[in-house]
Amino acid sequence: MNDQPWITERLAQAPPLGAPAPGTVILNDSKGEILDEGAATDLFAAYFGSDDTQMAVRVVASGDTLGYLSRTQALDLIELSSRGLGESIAQFLPGMSTYAPISLRCPIGGCPANPIVAATFDVMYPPRCPEHPSQPLEFVRS
């Protein structure tokens, strides 16, 4: 059985050469588990869609850096759907969290992990910065 997260094989060990410093996507859901592909795709889309210059993103799960996802690989995750019933992969559903992407940041000035996108944020147990493991991340109000 393969225990690797579904995304591992798409990740590189380092960002592309010459690319701007990548931000971060935290891939955990509220229970600390790895998000499924549909929910994760929205996070990547939110990250890359908000900054056309970003060429890669650092992917973090449970505080560990899993690797780097390039913009091209993130584009490959997008499935184009139609407007018929049953074409969706992430509708608003009962009993399931709606993982609308949210923005976080490391308050330490110049932290290379910023900007950070995550699916969930619990103010009592904020995630830690992958660059500064003792530093809790802050929620960024849009």
Binding site: L75, I78, L80, G84, G86, T98
Partner: protein, 935 residues
């Protein structure tokens, strides 16, 4: 009515009831014509049931003592017996919507007075449609006819044939019980007839029964019983003859027909003549036989004693025979005077079965009359008659709403809709049981239906008359041609009219494909069918291939007319489709590529669109974006719509994601938003077209109460097998209906007056949850009446069910929008891609943003289609980038980027295939005023 037992006491009748009964009897006695008499007795039957018979009998006795001879009430008593008997055996007496329930109550009252009538009551109950609250299995079982003791009452009602045969038997048992006290021969003959009608018999068994019956017949006193024996026996011989003929046993068929004829010998009544004619035409091998059969049918049609239903049946049969005999004049003469009768039956049909049967008959007659007129070269009348059969019920409902009591009509329809959803509303007042004893016992739904119907009786039917050919061609533009399509059982007629044609079309072409072949290509074929490909969510390439086949066939059909139009310097073509042609995108036909093409569902719609006032672009718009949360390009589409409208000073309110609830949407419309742009999911439901819907966000307050109905994962016992079909009511919440659908299981909750939450489960996991804004909801809403333009940028929002019968009556979201008063609707015929839809709308609204004055929406959309179809990759890249720049949602931007990245892999013209560019079309007025122009 005479009672079987002298010991029985007649039911107590109050003074008031007696007086009302006497008034009815007086009305019947004073009737000047047989129709008046029939109407009076029918009214009395559906009001008092058998108690009116007792009243007449009492009056007859009183009068008899004075006159010592037969008096008017004796005659009325006999007449009433026949009317009452035919009613109990299933014949409709009045147009009342609650008549069926009144019949049930009358039969039960009769059975309560004398148990001998219990079998009749059982038959009447069995006549109720499955699911009717009064179709009580236990009650029916208790009323089981004694002669049917060997029959097991089917528990599921799936095998009702033997029962239904009895239920359809007119006057058979009734004659025995109602016509008086039968002696032994009467009873014996009735029992034999009962067996003949209800048991499967081969020829020799039938002959044995008939021999026994013929002996009993000699001593039977009552005409109704003897007649019933003859007719039922003859009918069974005919059925066996047809079966023999089907199996190639010609001698057997001939022998059986001669037995049938023998049973009908000397019966100079319309029923017998009709049956003889049927046999003659069925087995006719030469024109002379067919001519004789047609003559028999004609005799029934013209008979003053034949019942209405019989005359209507005979007329259709005669027309069919005359068509083969090429006697078009007589075909016209026999059907034309009866057309209103077929039409009324169709317009007032109450349930699916009635609607189907009446629609079949009306549609057949309309087509037959059209065909006859065409063959007689009476084109103007042909066009008018043909149009009469199109969208009749929709036009009828629309006209009712346009009347001064239109609000009441909508209110009644809403009440009925709510009741059918299980909501307990205030029922209509219950009639006084002394004045209307049967009416006081009918159920709420029947009472609501009748209240609804009564509103319609005052409606002048001539308002529904279709426009004349002169009116149709009178509103056409000088450079316009109208194409009328008529598919029938032998060919497809294409008639091309130009402005000023008042007697005949400029060009006529006949296509070889029949209506059945079109149906096969478009809707019912097993493979490669256009609608089937949409149903099964095949890939767009597959769907495009199927669409290309449809377009090739339609192009072949239209080509000759299109060429003639070109020669006549025509630039604009309007198609009036017929039945399944409504699903064909005529604007995508190569032969029409040089024309501006539009469609109109009927000639009446076409004329109205050209003559009614043109709505203005409103100052407020409502943009509904992505209620289900999964259409990632929706934000970009909403942005482009808002930006374009802003150029014209239109303020837009956006309802997005979970905020796009039905309540919020209706509130915005109520507050004056008169342009609706919907960008989300849509569904066309062909089984229940009134449930075709646009998907909105579920109301949080309803979800908070009903969350347990829609678990994220269904328990293991709900995996999609047949047992998963269920319906139950949760007190205080609503009705839950669960059924299997393609790819999983749908669970809906009907809540409130019009709310419906729908969840779709695939592999037991919930993959979709939405509030359905259904065609039924839309059609009873008032909020849309001022909407100038509704753009339904959703899958198959303009794909409607046509129905299986001959009638041309599209039902679905478009029809609902029209009914609700929306002036213009832009909708789709098939599923559209999320990004492609947004891009198309980007182009459309960009074009709209440039418009001023009276905007021809057909022309505008046509331009956009052409631009889309011929758009180069570079232009597409530019357009998608512009759209992306408008989006504020980063996810939308990234999704559009993904689409842009894929474009280089596409053909030089990425949207050249019809499936990519031809889905959208305009329905309605087709115009919009932008700016300060005068209409």
């Amino acid at each position: 009515l005479k009672r079987r037992s002298a010991k029985r006491v007649p039911p107590a009748v109050s003074d008031t009831e007696w007086l009302v009964q006497v008034a009815h009897a007086e009305r019947a006695a004073r009737a000047a014509t047989s129709d008046d008499l029939y109407a009076a007795l029918a009214d009395a039957a559906v009001t008092f049931g058998h108690r009116f018979g007792l009243a007449l009998e009492s009056l007859a006795k009183t009068a008899g003592r004075e006159e010592q001879t037969e008096n008017p009430y004796t005659v009325l008593t006999r007449a009433f017996q026949l009317v009452f008997a035919s009613w109990l055996s299933g014949q409709r007496l009045t147009p009342r919507a609650d008549e069926r329930e009144r019949r049930v109550e009358a039969a039960l009252a009769l059975a309560a007075d004398d148990p001998i009538f219990a079998p009749l009551a059982a038959n009447v109950l069995l006549h109720l449609p499955a699911g009717h609250p009064k179709r009580d299995l236990a009650l029916i079982s208790g009323l089981r006819p004694t002669g049917m003791s060997s029959l097991t009452l089917p528990e599921t009602f799936r095998d009702l044939r033997p029962w239904q045969r009895v239920a359809r038997s007119p006057g058979m048992i009734l004659g025995a019980f109602i016509a008086g006290t039968p002696d032994r021969a009467d009873e014996q003959l009735a029992q034999i007839t009962f067996s003949i009608a209800s048991v499967d018999l081969d020829e020799s068994s039938l002959a044995r029964h008939v021999r026994r019956g013929t002996v009993a017949e000699r001593n039977a006193r009552h005409y109704v019983i003897r007649l019933d024996f003859r007719l039922r026996s003859a009918r069974r011989y005919f059925e066996l003859a047809v079966e023999a003929g089907r199996q190639g046993d010609e001698d057997g068929a001939r022998r059986l027909v001669s037995h049938m004829s023998a049973m009908l010998e000397d019966l100079a009544i319309p029923d017998a003549v009709l049956m003889l004619g049927e046999a003659l035409s069925h087995f006719a091998q030469d024109f002379e036989s067919l001519r004789r059969a047609a003559g028999m049918f004609a005799a029934v049609v013209e008979s003053s004693t034949a019942a209405r239903e019989l005359r209507l049946t005979a007329a259709r049969k005669e027309a069919a025979a005359r068509r083969i005999l090429l006697d078009f004049e007589r075909m016209y003469q026999v059907l034309r005077p009866l057309l209103p009768a077929y039409e009324v039956d169709y317009l007032t049909a109450l349930d699916e079965d009635e609607l189907d049967a009446a629609g079949r008959a009306f549609g057949e007659v309309v087509l037959a009359l059209t065909y006859a007129c065409v063959r007689l070269n009476r084109w103007a009348e042909a066009a008018e008659l043909f149009e009469r059969g199109k969208c009749s019920r929709l036009r009828y409902r629309a006209q009712l709403r346009a009347n001064y009591y239109g609000d009441t009509v909508i209110e009644r329809e809403a009440e009925l809709s709510a009741f059918r959803r299980g909501l307990t509303l205030a029922a209509p007042p219950v009639p006084n049981s002394e004045v209307d004893p049967l009416g006081s016992r009918v159920g709420t739904e029947a009472a609501l239906l009748e209240a609804n119907r009564r509103l319609r009786t005052e409606f002048p039917s001539e308002v529904l008359a279709p426009p004349s050919l002169r009116a149709l061609t009178g509103v056409m533009y000088a450079d316009e041609g109208v194409i009328v399509l008529i598919a029938n059982s032998t060919s497809t007629l294409v008639a091309g009219f130009l402005a000023g044609d008042v007697t005949s079309p400029t060009v006529v072409s006949v296509g070889e494909m029949t209506d059945a072949e079109w149906l096969d290509l478009l809707a019912q074929g097993r493979r490669g069918t256009w609608l089937a490909s949409l149903r099964t969510h095949r890939s767009s390439n597959d769907s495009n291939d199927t669409l290309e086949r449809v377009l090739a066939a339609a192009n072949h059909l239209i080509y000759p007319v299109a060429r003639r139009f070109e020669a006549e310097n025509i630039h604009r073509v309007t198609i009036l489709p017929h039945r399944w042609f409504h699903v064909v995108p005529f604007w995508a036909l190569p032969s029409l590529s040089s024309f501006l093409v539009e469609t109109a569902i009927t000639a009446a719609d076409f004329v109205e669109a050209r003559t009614r006032s043109v709505p203005r672009l409103p100052s407020r718009a409502l943009v509904v974006a992505n209620p289900a949360g999964d259409l990632r390009a929706a934000d970009a589409e909403a942005a482009t719509v808002e930006a374009s409208l802003k150029r014209h000073g239109v303020a837009s309110q956006r309802l997005a994601g979970l905020g796009a609830t039905e309540t919020a949407l209706l509130n915005e419309l109520r507050d004056g938003a008169a342009l609706l742009h919907f960008c989300g999911h849509g569904r066309s439901d062909f089984d229940h077209p009134e449930r075709s819907a646009l998907f909105l966000a579920p109301d949080p307050s309803v979800l908070s109460r009903s969350g347990h109905v829609f678990p994220a994962v269904l328990p293991a016992n709900a995996t999609g097998d047949a047992s998963d079909d269920a319906s139950y009511v949760i007190d205080g919440l609503g009705r839950v209906v669960q059924k299997r659908i393609v790819g999983g299981l749908e669970r809906t909750l009907e809540h409130g007056k019009s709310g419906t939450i729908s969840a779709w489960y695939a592999d037991r996991r919930c993959v979709s949850l939405a509030e359905l804004w259904t065609a039924a909801d839309i059609s009873i809403s008032r909020e849309l009446s001022g909407v100038a333009l509704a753009v339904l940028s959703a899958c198959e929002s303009g794909l409607e069910r046509i129905g299986e019968s001959n009638i041309d009556e599209p039902v679905g979201l478009l029809a609902a929008m029209r009914l609700a008063g929306v002036a213009n609707t832009i909708a789709t015929l098939w599923p559209v891609g999320d990004v492609e839809g947004a891009l198309f709308m980007h182009e459309f609204y960009a074009a709209l943003g440039q418009c001023e004055g009276v905007v021809d929406l057909h022309g505008l959309l046509n331009d956009v289609r052409v631009r889309f179809r011929t758009m180069s990759r570079d232009a597409a890249l530019e357009s998608i980038s512009a759209l992306r720049d408008m989006a504020s949602d980063p996810i939308a931007r990234f999704v559009l980027e993904r689409f842009r990245e894929q474009l280089p892999n596409r053909p030089a013209q990425p949207f050249a295939k019809p499936y990519a560019w031809a889905a959208f079309f305009v329905s309605g007025v087709g115009k919009l005023i932008i700016g300060d122009s005068m209409t």
